[in-house]
Symmetry: D2
Subunit: 298 residues, 4 copies
Amino acid sequence: MRIHLKSEKMKEGLRNTAILLMHCPDQKGLVAAVTDFLHNNAGNIISLDQHVDRNVGQFFMRVEWELNGFAIPREKISDFFGTLIGNKFEMDWQLHFTNKLPRMVLFVSKMSHCVYDILQRYKSGEWAVDIPFIISNHENLRYIADRFEIPFHVFSINKENKAEQEAKEIQLLKNNDIDFVVLARYMQILSDDFVDQFPNQIINIHHSFLPAFKGAKPYHSAYKRGVKVIGATSHYVTADLDEGPIIAQDVVHVSHKDEIRDLVRKGKDVEKVVLSQAIWLQLQRKILPFANRTIVFD
Amino acid sequence: MRIHLKSEKMKEGLRNTAILLMHCPDQKGLVAAVTDFLHNNAGNIISLDQHVDRNVGQFFMRVEWELNGFAIPREKISDFFGTLIGNKFEMDWQLHFTNKLPRMVLFVSKMSHCVYDILQRYKSGEWAVDIPFIISNHENLRYIADRFEIPFHVFSINKENKAEQEAKEIQLLKNNDIDFVVLARYMQILSDDFVDQFPNQIINIHHSFLPAFKGAKPYHSAYKRGVKVIGATSHYVTADLDEGPIIAQDVVHVSHKDEIRDLVRKGKDVEKVVLSQAIWLQLQRKILPFANRTIVFD
Amino acid sequence: MRIHLKSEKMKEGLRNTAILLMHCPDQKGLVAAVTDFLHNNAGNIISLDQHVDRNVGQFFMRVEWELNGFAIPREKISDFFGTLIGNKFEMDWQLHFTNKLPRMVLFVSKMSHCVYDILQRYKSGEWAVDIPFIISNHENLRYIADRFEIPFHVFSINKENKAEQEAKEIQLLKNNDIDFVVLARYMQILSDDFVDQFPNQIINIHHSFLPAFKGAKPYHSAYKRGVKVIGATSHYVTADLDEGPIIAQDVVHVSHKDEIRDLVRKGKDVEKVVLSQAIWLQLQRKILPFANRTIVFD
Amino acid sequence: MRIHLKSEKMKEGLRNTAILLMHCPDQKGLVAAVTDFLHNNAGNIISLDQHVDRNVGQFFMRVEWELNGFAIPREKISDFFGTLIGNKFEMDWQLHFTNKLPRMVLFVSKMSHCVYDILQRYKSGEWAVDIPFIISNHENLRYIADRFEIPFHVFSINKENKAEQEAKEIQLLKNNDIDFVVLARYMQILSDDFVDQFPNQIINIHHSFLPAFKGAKPYHSAYKRGVKVIGATSHYVTADLDEGPIIAQDVVHVSHKDEIRDLVRKGKDVEKVVLSQAIWLQLQRKILPFANRTIVFD
């Protein structure tokens, strides 16, 4: 069945390239050092984005190059780059290979709009990603997982069993080499312990334009405040609820005619688009979080 | 000099119509009662907008009709409508005549972007409005008022003289039959007493997407939070700072590349558009504030 | 199985109201006549929107009122309104009852993004609608219909059999009391004869911001022209290809970094939102087409 | 008087940096070659953006570096870069110094909204630019130039004198070392000969979302077509009217309530923002036109 899914055309294609994401204190010669490293080893740069944040004195870069013809074997790139460049400039860096499908797990509860949106992109080949299973705290959306032939694991959570259930979830994620987690309107707050184990690997969609209307029931608050625009925010989850680094945001105009249920309806459209934007950026390895902000090389 | 301004073509034109804005507890027959009142007296309805807010059980309506041929003389409409309709349904209502230019006063400080935007619309005849003078707490922008040949009154404010200076400002506004006041990035908080004297007659532009980043330096806060969208909010001023009824809001996308000065620069474009939207709606008598929200019949 | 679908909560609810959509040459007393008709028969008006287009001298109105307590029996409203009001003012008018689910049929081809978006709203109860079956000219998306347990009829079309196949489709639609048809990226041009039988009953999504980039491959044209914004347009289908009355439009910003496949990807998000907006408006009976434009009482 | 203008604080500041804009056929080692050239001569890179368009096989880059401490004297950079890098890779390239104010001339006719918007930014120090004079084909806006104390030259144009008048304009521009020209709703088509002398140096604002509604009276066409969104397009002027490379575009939603004069009013807000965006990008040397498209390093 999973084979069936994979047999559909993967439009995005699997490039045979490598991506380096890096940041370090700013200094002269950083771009030249990295591009020399690639050029001297016959690496053809496909794209290069750099950014210097002068307020914090940090240098950020994303570079993607073709592996065909690259002089350093794939399995040694990490060692070579770290030794020759990373250590020298005291970099934080990550290396990714685009022909390896990232493994993403969805956490869901009762609302289906984001889930369908994600699975449609997955199933149609818009995204090069693997979704080995879905986790939920409720049975409600099992029928969707069934339709898409994706395993669906329910861990119902209450005050008493939360630590225990989360431990099982963490084990399941670790055992399956999950790259990142997407909370697709998952209505359960993850414990700090859970969050700490997946730094910048959990993407959430908050149904308001953060930092406005943090917490629960933002559409009710928006209605009460009489705002003329509502929004949605995708962000990495940190121990501070609704305070993690923001990845993408968008809004939609509303009016006095919109009752709360209209805000909910209109908001869902923004939520699913903004969440899928964040996932797309994550899949492209275009996000570099730093100091509770994100560099998005879009 | 003012004659010079008026001699330019007033594109908007001065219609000979009346506008009724009203609200009252919802009940059967409200629309029929008002439209009958107009129809039976040969009033041709040009536009009618109504809204029922079921959460608060209130009925809102704006109706505009032609005065040519209307059976009730202009000066008696108020008496007749109040007696026959308003009292009966316990309405709050306002009557406006479109051939009388509203009188608007600007309060400014040091930033010129909103002022120029407003004066360009005024001067080019985009808006049918009268601006008898500008008030400021600083001399900085006097040269703009001079260029547009509009009197410019400076009331510098400090802790000691605030009550006294505001009293003079209020007197000046009252003596000149001002319809409403626009705070065009006026960087001085009006006292509660001032605000109380002009309920729903003072329009402010806040340089953030309220309720996010209330208070001072919202662009600094936005930068620090790493938002991907910034905005501006025009609202009526109430005693609660940045908490008055919102009239219009809009946003612009930003990225990690935008430093604070870029947020300021991009934000100004939204500020001036959103403030001018609010003024336009006010001039058209399209705003009905109720319970800290606004009905905008746009 | 269909029962299963219906048993899910229909959040939108089924109000027991009636809606009148009407237009006629503008004249005095129209609003009063209609509101009197309702008021005199104990009809409580829930919402009333009217518009006068002075360029064409036409009056447009949408009024919704509660049927509970209305003095005229449901089955006689049409006769009474037509006789007492419609004929008198030479109106074109339609009467709808909100407790009757509209019946909508989707036409699809090979792309799934709009279909999933529509079916998710249908299935989750966001929309009060019935989708008795889906029609396609290809087998590709049958698996989606199967997942949602909706009958899927394939009519493959070629030059030779087009008239014959369309005749069958028309018959199927007529036999099933279909209210309107949605072309959800249906990649086959309907014949004039087909279109003529469903005036203002076929909604299409065009994957560009009409009137820019009419015809096939608009994203290729947009790329070639180097536009910085792409869009989508939902409209009623008329005999003139891509020239029917526009219902809704929206856009998304793009840059030089976006290749054609990126335009396609970003465009899909706009397409599905804009198509669903149009369907929502259609379900709410908020659209009045006139002279190749639409009045949208939103 | 000009001194007065300059004495206001120039917020943007004058960085002591150089900017290279370049493009050439794509090949390995381009980024490394340029960054080595800068690094080896002690040039600190402030920002670097590159783009490869695989459809046309072209490489594009913008790099900005600090001149303080750069080993090659300012006046020799051009010679050195051309000899060592430009020629080698068959580049088209431009070198700019940010401490030299660009000289921009406005062409205007009768509408003031863009002019005021531009002059407000100029006068308030938002832009680091010099505006030595304004050219018009009408006297109407002379009072604005007077207010801002900028020389205003009128060249009235008719069929007979067009070639002669344009020759004078060209002479005036050439004599004054003008960097680029902005048509701020200049309602006169420039001859091909004029355009040819300023390739990619003339920025126009078209009051529609190109390629929709090319030519005259786009708001009338937009009204007639019943679009739900209108827009504006800033672009470089080429011999093909309304067909030059697009720099920026934006839109605003409209409805059936908007008559032509409302479209004009709403459109003006988009026009001025989109034109000023283009000017800002031009001043930052962030635009690289190629093959009737623009690379915008924003």
